[in-house]
């Protein structure tokens, strides 16, 4: 029973923290650009405002346009409930492993791309086309990173991977782990639409990937999509943090362990968020047809990670 409550609370914490994560990255980037910037809780104010606006829907759109924001938001929340955040998941209640997470996110992207095509706007079509290209090319890297992790842990269940890494700390510094972490970090940037793959703050439609698909959305639908995107970023960063650097995560359900788990979770997220912000300040966006080169590089990293884990057994 306590496990159910734990999962619910964890999901709630994730959903609540996601806009703050995005706001923190924006605040960090602003400071690095020499400006004061908006407060880290600005995205909450934006979401509240969006919920109060009307939704403008195109004549050419169909029911798919109305359903997609809910699918995107829903899949992001379900994925947040599957991923270990504050506490490592307990066995009997796991409804999904790493593959389930990957495919649930693919479900969200599928519907978002269809919604981009639905309005008949060429921007939406272009965004859908580019997004599906990037997602298709990140799939093998994600799968290979999963294989690298699962090889050493013997399973794709999050709980077992975390337990294995905690039990053998030296493995965390092995080449397999480090390379898989690097590959997963590049995939995070690609899937969540951050530089150098996609600029989340661009206004030029020809440079957009994710933004182009949401150009037609407004009001509460846009709020759901933005929240879903923020949750996706939180989930990816949490995966990178908790699977590769799991110390601090609560393995028991005592209040002290949970408190430490929460604090370490926020600390790890903050460090990764600073890394993302620093990287976004340092690099420029890649030309679209150079992105596959970056993704193949991440695939090669993941492949080497798998091979080294294989040969180390």
């Amino acid at each position: 029973m306590i496990h159910y409550v734990m999962i619910f609370v964890q999901t709630f914490v994730a959903v609540a923290l996601a806009p703050a994560l995005v706001g923190f990255i924006r605040w960090m980037k602003a400071r690095l650009q020499g400006r004061r910037g908006a407060a880290p809780w600005q995205p909450y104010l934006e979401l509240w405002k969006l919920l109060g606006k009307e939704a403008v829907v195109s004549h050419t759109a169909s029911w798919l346009f109305h359903v997609s924001p809910f699918v995107v938001f829903g899949t992001s929340v379900v994925v947040a409930s599957l991923v270990p955040l504050v506490a490592a998941p307990a066995d009997p209640l796991i409804i999904g492993d790493l593959f389930a997470v990957v495919y649930l996110l693919l479900l969200g992207t599928f519907f978002l791309a269809l919604a981009g095509l639905d309005t008949g706007s060429p921007f939406g079509g272009m965004g859908a086309s580019r997004e599906m290209t990037v997602v298709a090319l990140t799939e093998p890297t994600v799968a290979m990173s999963i294989v690298a992790l699962a090889l050493s842990a013997g399973s794709t269940n999050f709980g077992q991977i975390i337990d294995r890494t905690i039990a053998e700390p030296s493995m965390a510094l092995g080449p397999g782990h480090l390379l898989a972490f690097a590959a997963l970090f590049i995939v995070t940037l690609a899937e969540t639409g951050r530089l150098p793959v996609d600029n989340p703050a661009t206004h030029l439609e020809l440079t957009m990937i994710h933004e182009a698909m949401v150009l037609e959305y407004s009001g509460p639908y846009l709020a759901l999509l933005e929240w879903g995107a923020a949750l996706k970023l939180l989930v990816f960063l949490a995966l990178a943090a908790n699977l590769f650097i799991p110390w601090g995560i609560a393995v028991t359900l005592s209040p002290l362990a949970l408190a430490i788990g929460l604090v370490s979770f926020i600390a790890k997220l903050a460090i990764l968020a600073i890394a993302v912000a620093v990287l976004e300040t340092r690099v420029a966006k890649l030309r679209l047809f150079r992105v596959p080169e970056l993704l193949s590089a991440s695939f090669v990293l993941a492949l080497i990670a798998v091979m080294s884990t294989f040969l180390a057994r």
Binding site: Q33, E46, K49, K53, V56, H203, L215, G219, L222
Partner: protein, 186 residues
């Protein structure tokens, strides 16, 4: 690494917002209180150039610079009118931009308001009477705030927007503007 050492040395460049010329800002229609409350702290702006000479655009560009930094007031520019609450219009409305301007306004979800920036947007400015010009912005779409100047100061533009949503006097009693005076040197 050179980049980060420069960032460290430069620090935060944002200045406190100046009062500037109060006459530049003219509030034509006051917004409803509930709209001010909704849009007050998180404002999304879409900018439309309805045939301007780009002088006003350069000043509006300055709004996102570290000196004026409009993001600290919760405002940011967006890529699509569907995401926007405020329409910032510059330029005398030329014939070719009349329909796009109207469509941009219609594409925005309610509640929304319009700020006309520059003399051209207010009265067609130097282009008044030209064969290519239809009329000032309030001939095409309803305008809530006008900011005069050719081009207006970025601080005037900022203040105009803030006054429209009633944020020129901060809730905590602290004013975010200071009286006009010499700009403190860095």
């Amino acid at each position: 690494m050179l980049l980060f050492s420069k960032i460290w040395k430069a620090g935060i460049a944002t200045e406190v917002l100046q009062v500037g010329d109060p006459a530049a800002v003219e509030i034509g229609r006051a917004l409803e209180q509930r709209i001010k409350k909704l849009l007050g702290r998180a404002l999304a702006i879409r900018e439309v150039d309805a045939g301007s000479c780009n002088g006003c655009e350069l000043e509006i560009n300055g709004l996102t610079s570290p000196i004026y930094d409009m993001e600290r007031f919760g405002m940011h520019f967006v890529a699509s009118p569907r995401h926007a609450d405020l329409l910032l219009v510059t330029g005398p409305v030329t014939r070719n931009m009349e329909i796009p301007l109207r469509r941009t306004y219609e594409a925005m979800p309610a509640p929304k308001f319009v700020v006309a920036v520059g003399d051209c947007a207010k009265t067609c400015g130097v282009f008044k009477g030209s064969y290519a010009v239809v009329g000032p912005v309030d001939r095409i779409i309803p305008v809530d705030v006008s900011i005069a100047g050719c081009p207006p100061e970025p601080s005037d533009i900022l203040r105009g927007i803030l006054e429209a949503v009633d944020r020129s006097a901060e809730k905590r009693g602290q004013s975010i503007t200071v009286a006009a005076g010499p700009v403190p040197s860095r």
